[in-house]
């Protein structure tokens, strides 16, 4: 197992700059997730680590040693792909044993048998060893692909959306197992995904990538509670975070957030948070985008103190709960509601913000400024990382 470092790695394909100065430092035994939209450069990073792509600039280190010029076979990495890439004519056993039988490893059959069975036990597929890939379900194929990676003791596991092809039920189950498995192995793992739930559930740390650049690196909690800009805030969380454009004004030490709903001006007084206020003063934030997660927007179907009136744009179930979208003219608000409400489209609804859970962004640069309870959230995130 190894520590993997990338320093200022650049890679272009023709005129397309796929990676534009990527630096990451993956600790030994860490589960590190690369997360971003399609085309962000996630897979290119993985390929650079594996040696499949050669970066034009920058250094790649395994355990402090520069490996830029080491060919893929000698980097001792194990890759798992989205589309399994199994040998169709070989049984599961032979698929798993293939790498160990290669010229590079030349392991004797007794050891191979032992290792294949150990890996099969771990992946709970001992009963499948005699089957051909064509006789397996997709979930089983993916297990074999992972099992094949497990028989060796690689420097690092590189996984490229291994669960993307599986149906929802299987994906849930495999995600849970994968985390358990990695913890047991104590191996370094770099995992590419565009699914935020996978990123949150699996990653010790997550690197957010967009347009070939690292946008933010941190634990799931850090990124969820303190996203470095609106782009990251919108990536993390389903349904998406609400971004409400408005103004912050101060009068005699008390702060007020005001925003428009269908052209009507609404003001909400902001509970005191000295640090937040200091940050807002420091940044000179007048106009501000407020970010508020859907679970922190409350609703009522009767007029109530502190609620403002708007209309229902849509109401839909997302499984064990539902989302109400309210139309506010220039933007829409998403909020969490229980299933089975009698809600009509375009009916009136009254909405309140739990503003003491909000975060604020600069409306020009879209960069994060500050949020409520930042200090305690930072402390909380630190505690998670240490443990």
């Amino acid at each position: 197992m190894a520590r993997i470092q990338l320093e200022n790695v650049k890679k272009s394909f023709g005129r397309v700059q796929a990676l534009n100065g990527v630096s990451i430092d993956v600790k030994d035994k860490e589960f590190f997730v690369l997360f971003g939209p399609a085309g962000a450069g996630k897979t290119t990073i993985l390929n650079c680590i594996a040696g499949i792509n050669l970066p034009e600039e920058g250094v790649i280190r395994f355990n402090e040693e520069i490996v830029n010029l080491v060919d893929p076979a000698h980097r001792n990495v194990a890759m798992v792909f989205e589309n399994y890439a199994l040998y169709p004519q070989m049984t599961v056993y032979d698929n798993m044993a293939a790498a160990l039988r290669s010229n590079l490893y030349k392991t004797d059959e007794a050891t191979i048998k032992e290792k294949v069975h150990a890996a099969a036990r771990m992946m709970k597929m001992e009963n499948l060893l005699e089957r051909l890939p064509s006789q397996l379900s997709n979930g089983q194929k993916q297990r074999v692909a992972m099992g094949r990676a497990l028989v060796r003791t690689p420097n690092v596991f590189l996984m490229d959306e291994p669960l993307a092809h599986l149906d929802a039920k299987l994906r849930n189950a495999m995600r849970t197992e994968l985390k358990e498995m990695q913890a047991n192995l104590g191996s370094t793992c770099i995992y590419v995904t565009h699914d935020f739930m996978e990123a949150m559930a699996l990653g010790d740390r997550i690197a957010i990538i967009n347009k070939g650049e690292i946008v933010q690196i941190g634990s799931g909690d850090e990124i969820y509670y303190m996203p470095c800009n609106e782009f990251v805030a919108q990536l993390m969380g389903d349904p998406q975070i609400n971004i409400v454009p408005g103004k912050i004004t101060e009068a005699g030490g008390a702060y007020v957030f005001s925003f428009e709903v269908h052209g009507q001006n609404i003001t909400v007084s902001m509970p005191e948070d000295k640090e937040l206020q200091a940050k807002i003063r420091e940044a000179g934030l007048k106009a501000a985008d407020m970010g508020l997660r859907p679970q922190n927007v409350k609703y009522s179907f009767e007029p109530e103190e502190g609620y403002f009136k708007t209309t229902v744009y849509s109401y839909e179930s997302i499984g064990n709960k539902s989302v109400i979208q309210a139309d506010c003219g220039e933007y829409q608000l998403r909020m969490i509601a229980p299933n089975g409400l009698k809600v009509q489209i375009d009916q009136e609804i009254y909405v309140r913000f739990e503003i003491d859970h909000s975060m604020f962004f600069d409306p020009q640069t879209k960069e994060y400024v500050s949020r409520y309870d930042e200090k305690s959230i930072k402390a909380f995130a630190m505690e998670q990382e240490v443990s």
Partner: protein
């Protein structure tokens, strides 16, 4: 008034080639009965290969019916040509005419019918804002994003003012975010035009969020037909129970035991013990074997002084909005969801409580719901 009626529909694909001549294929659709009210939104939901698209194609007239009758409104349409059935179609891929701009694509069908120009223009202008394509009317198909193409596709289906709108996985080509917003748009659109709609999907979330009623199909057989709340809260069998809901319902094999007059669910290699709701007492007995189903939302972490069973956490997933915890029960994993902010670690011990009244019983062989006797 009925919008669409399917009566005892069967479909069998005939084998071609001499070899297989004697051997009959199994039915792709078996004895399907559906009644869809005027203006209702029906989803046909099931895994791939279950016969849902075949059913849709029979309604559209693109596929022969082996046995049975289909009525659109009051008309028997079995022998009607697709173009005479007065239906609108929107499929997964867009099949647009590349040399025509968006306006031309939307208007094409009316032009072919010989509707006069002013009327076509009036209808296109009426529908364009509904589908939010008013600002792209003069663009060519190649310039459009997937979401825009699907909007044009649906606009084209509804401009004919069909009696029945048929959609086959219209959102499956779109990425997550576009899919979410299109889902909302489709719902608003149908709400506005009040057209009877049949919608095919394999995504339970789409069916749950869009449909007035869901028909769940497996191996060509209708499993359950009901509102989203009915199929979620009152599934007829294990298949429906595990197909609806994300994460899926926990379904565990159990042996029921009797202790001092109370029945409990017990599980192999586990100390977990859950009381059986008393309404099932007439159908269970000591040593009765079945499967128990409970949704992850109905499994709870007990607080101080809880009487729940102490269990070790096997897996902990922090998903930001919620947290999921897995508990080993024998060789199975019992999942629970919590919005509690507390972070656990695998190995921690929690008191496990189950909302007993929310448990379901399923037959171990057939998977059918075991219900209390009325």
């Amino acid at each position: 008034m009925a919008g669409l009626t399917l009566k005892n529909i069967y479909k069998r694909y005939e084998n071609s080639g001499k070899k297989k001549k004697k051997q009959q294929n199994d039915y792709a659709v078996k004895d399907l009965n559906l009644l869809c009210e005027q203006g209702e939104f029906i989803a046909l939901l099931g895994p791939s290969g279950c016969g849902k698209t075949t059913t849709l194609r029979m309604i559209a007239g693109l596929e022969d019916i082996t046995k049975g009758e289909i009525f659109i409104g009051e008309r028997l349409v079995n022998n009607l040509h697709p173009k005479d059935r007065n239906i609108g179609l929107a499929f997964e891929d867009y099949a647009m005419y590349p040399p025509l701009n968006v306006y031309g694509n939307v208007a094409f069908n009316l032009r072919a019918k010989g509707v006069d120009k002013a009327e076509i223009d009036r209808r296109v202008r009426e529908i364009a804002p509904l589908m939010q394509i008013d600002d792209i009317l003069d663009k060519m198909p190649v310039k459009l994003s997937g979401g825009q193409k699907q909007r044009v596709n649906i606009a084209r289906a509804i401009i004919r003012e069909p009696e029945l709108l048929l959609m086959d996985e219209p959102l499956s080509h779109l990425d997550g975010k576009a899919r979410q917003s299109m889902r909302v748009e489709i719902k608003r659109l149908i709400n506005k035009i009040k057209c009877t709609t049949v919608y095919v999907t394999h995504d339970q979330l789409e069916a749950m969020s869009l449909a007035d009623k869901i028909a769940i199909i497996n191996f060509g057989v209708l499993q359950q037909f009901g509102t989203p709340a009915e199929v979620y809260d009152d599934p007829v069998n294990e298949f429906v129970a595990s197909f609806i809901g994300e994460p899926p319902m926990n379904i565990l094999e159990t042996t029921i035991i009797r202790e001092e007059g109370t029945f409990f669910f017990t599980f192999a290699d586990s100390n977990l013990k859950i009381a059986v709701p008393s309404r099932y007492y007439s159908v269970v007995s000591d040593g009765f074997r079945c499967k128990m189903g409970v949704r992850p939302m109905d499994v709870l972490i007990g607080g101080e002084g809880s009487k729940g069973t102490p269990e070790e956490i096997a897996t902990f997933e922090n998903l930001g909005d919620e947290r999921r915890i897995g508990i080993r029960v024998g060789d199975m994993l019992l999942m629970l969801i919590t919005e509690d902010e507390k972070r656990y670690r695998s190995g921690d011990i929690i008191k496990l409580e189950v909302r007993e009244e929310k448990t379901h019983l399923f037959d171990i062989e057939t998977g059918n719901r075991i219900r209390e006797q009325a």
